[in-house]
Point group: C2
Chain length 422, copies 2
């Protein structure tokens, strides 16, 4: 059994039961609205089966240790890959570089397929298994797709994945290795999304599109559970994360709200979203204090957050408004700079979208929005190995020499290399 | 304090103390021999401080939970990244595909920088810290280098890394992001190795070359500790791993011998090494039952095991001889096939060298060397995202369509796609 009580439309407030088997609010959809649903739980019941103590004794790894908080029937089978359980580090040198006393980075690039999206996909695949589906589909700029393909492969489910043509080749290769059927759609992310929706409806596949499927935010919220547990249930002052579709930000916020509702934590953090300057529809809406989104061009190298028409702006914006949070926008140059900074100070190679969080954090600190004494967690949502092209752009040039010590010495001296060490 | 008693030359048997501060046996080196040293411990003392029970209660993650087995002074500072603690999965579908009843895959591509080499580098960086070094250097085809750069960055140590020109661009970018000084040597791995040795000697840097530094095998052996612990201290019948320089295979074997010596396990597995057909010097020596290595060309796409002049053949060969193990050789085509097979059955994207283990395992099963009822662990030593070029070679082509459902249906039908799912 799960502890879900009902699904509720974030727009009109209509309630549905799990048995209604809806993914969006039919009433709102028929009026041309999004009709995004939110999952509600019986937190009193949850607090009877899970506590700080029970978790401290629970040796299971990964997201399923938080099962009572998840909309999954444990008997119907959880996925096999170890999703979540990613390391979080305090980095004094990163903190110093950006003007903070305490900063933690959560390396979600160490999920099985290399991104935070594994958390959502694990839940999606489990829901598909629960429903007896044999094919599951989504549109994605990359990470949602590879996480779906990997998690589905591990339990023998078929996947059909729609990607826009700008998706990096490496991410596409990863999908194909997992045995997914990959459809490269000649067009934007929106074109890929729309085609996936049509195919899903026509052939009755299980839908893993994050903005449609309300269960996915539930997977993503586990990152907050891990952050809180790692900090001994003291919530940080701020959690910073890059924003594309808006679902990850919404998941982060939902996680902290759930913990508080079940009595595992006392306070709530503020959440800060970070968007690329070249594609910042959610930042724009936030600054105007509205829920309406204007479509943007997708003009940033951070492909995982290049979403011109976000599918879940409402939940993301509600998270920002409710938490008293904010949004920063950062340039591609600042993102590449942050990639190097993260690598050099923490030993983590984060992809551009992931690095945007630190770029935005740095900006918010320098603007005084985040104070130097506040405790901050930056979530690094994807592995830098996923986007080598931009890794190479961010990196400096290596030194090239013949196998000759004298040539090496000369070249190093020219570069001002410190032979005694860093 | 560490539990190291002495270092012993694997060739002449000469003993050295940790205070002698030698990395190779000076006597053998002066005679033109390799002089590889092996680290010995006081296993009786170790068994008094670490046991199955103490480990079951130890909530620390990663390799430092096995500290008494490691040549590191815990007070001198262990590295920060969470190295090790990688997931191991049983895969029934992979087992079925290769004709086994029970196979486990250990996904060491989920180490912080994406490969098993992190285990060795974490120990190297800790030793460098212990010695007060401020610069650490190595030559590497890639994974050793990135693991060194990442682990050193996390503690603020400088790194100078020598790579041969064929090193994939992505691996080089990763080094640069970590802030390493990268020297691309126009020549082979041997050229890079020789130049690094000259530079290390000239400028007194700490040496992380795996075949020179005897402490690195000690880091690698932690993979065996994790395998044994995950299997409730029942050692598997076989452990299969790809072989380049020979140090990883030697580490795997050392790990199981250490556990037995300290009374944590009863038996020992056989170890099987896998080399590429285009670069199989250790396989050739093993088949002839000798320790002498003939140099090979480096003709395989699996760059992490393309080592024509392995620097540590003796420890690897001793592992094979002592354990009653074997070596398989596999073609590049078989490696690419194994990449797809691993991805489709387990949801893990493994790099070519890592996939070679499963290619070799499959061959050993079909040849009857490994019986269908034997319990096997295949170690996947590196993340497929590290070598996208070969990921793309291994993968099939995606489908390309305009954003049009009818075109999609037509193309899928042409491909014989099953609309009902896998």
């Amino acid at each position: 059994m799960s502890y879900v009580t009902h699904l509720q439309c974030v727009e009109c407030g209509a309630r549905y039961s799990e048995k209604d088997d809806v993914m969006l609010c039919p009433a709102c959809v028929s009026r041309g609205k999004a009709g995004i649903l939110d999952i509600h739980y019986d937190y009193t019941a949850i607090s009877r089966v899970i506590s700080r103590d029970s978790l401290a004794k629970d040796t299971r790894r990964g997201i399923w240790r938080y099962m009572p908080f998840l909309p999954v029937d444990p008997d119907a089978g959880a996925t096999h890959l170890r999703v979540g359980d990613t390391p979080m580090y305090e980095s004094t040198s990163l903190a110093r570089a950006i003007g903070l006393e305490t900063v933690y980075v959560k390396d979600d690039g160490l999920n099985p397929t290399g991104s935070l999206k594994d958390r959502a996909s694990a839940v999606a695949v489990s829901k598909a298994l629960e429903r007896g589906a044999s094919m599951i589909a989504c549109a994605s700029t990359g990470n949602a797709a590879s996480s779906l393909a990997g998690n589905a492969a591990s339990v023998g489910l078929g996947t059909c994945i729609f990607v826009p043509e700008r998706a990096p080749q490496g991410k596409v290769a990863q999908l194909l290795i997992y045995g997914a059927t990959v459809v490269v759609v000649e067009g934007s992310y929106k074109d890929a999304f729309d085609l996936s929706s049509q195919a899903i409806e026509k052939w009755g596949w299980y839908n893993r599109n994050a903005a449609i499927n309300p269960y996915l935010v539930e997977g993503k919220k586990t990152v907050s559970f891990e952050i809180a547990e790692a900090l001994n249930w003291e919530v940080p002052d701020w959690v910073v994360v890059a924003v594309g579709d808006g679902c990850t930000l919404a998941g982060v916020w939902k996680g902290f709200k759930d913990l508080k509702a079940a009595g595992l934590t006392k306070g709530l953090p503020k959440v800060a979203g970070v968007q690329a300057q070249g594609c910042a529809p959610i930042a724009e809406a936030f600054r105007q204090g509205v829920f309406e989104i204007k479509p943007w061009r997708e003009d940033t190298l951070a492909d995982s957050i290049a979403v011109g028409v976000p599918r879940n702006p409402r939940k993301a914006l509600m998270s920002l408004y409710e938490s008293g949070g904010t949004v920063a926008t950062v340039s591609d140059e600042e993102i590449l700079l942050a990639m190097r900074l993260i690598g050099q100070t923490t030993g983590i190679f984060a992809e551009p979208a992931a690095s945007a969080s630190v770029a935005g954090l740095s900006k918010l600190v320098s603007e005084g929005v985040i104070g130097p004494g506040e405790r901050v967690v930056a979530i690094l949502t994807g592995n830098g190995l996923k986007d080598i092209k931009n890794g190479i752009r961010a990196a400096s040039e290596p030194i090239r020499v013949k196998p000759d010590l004298w040539e090496l010495e000369e070249v190093l001296r020219e570069k001002g290399f410190d032979f005694e060490g860093a």
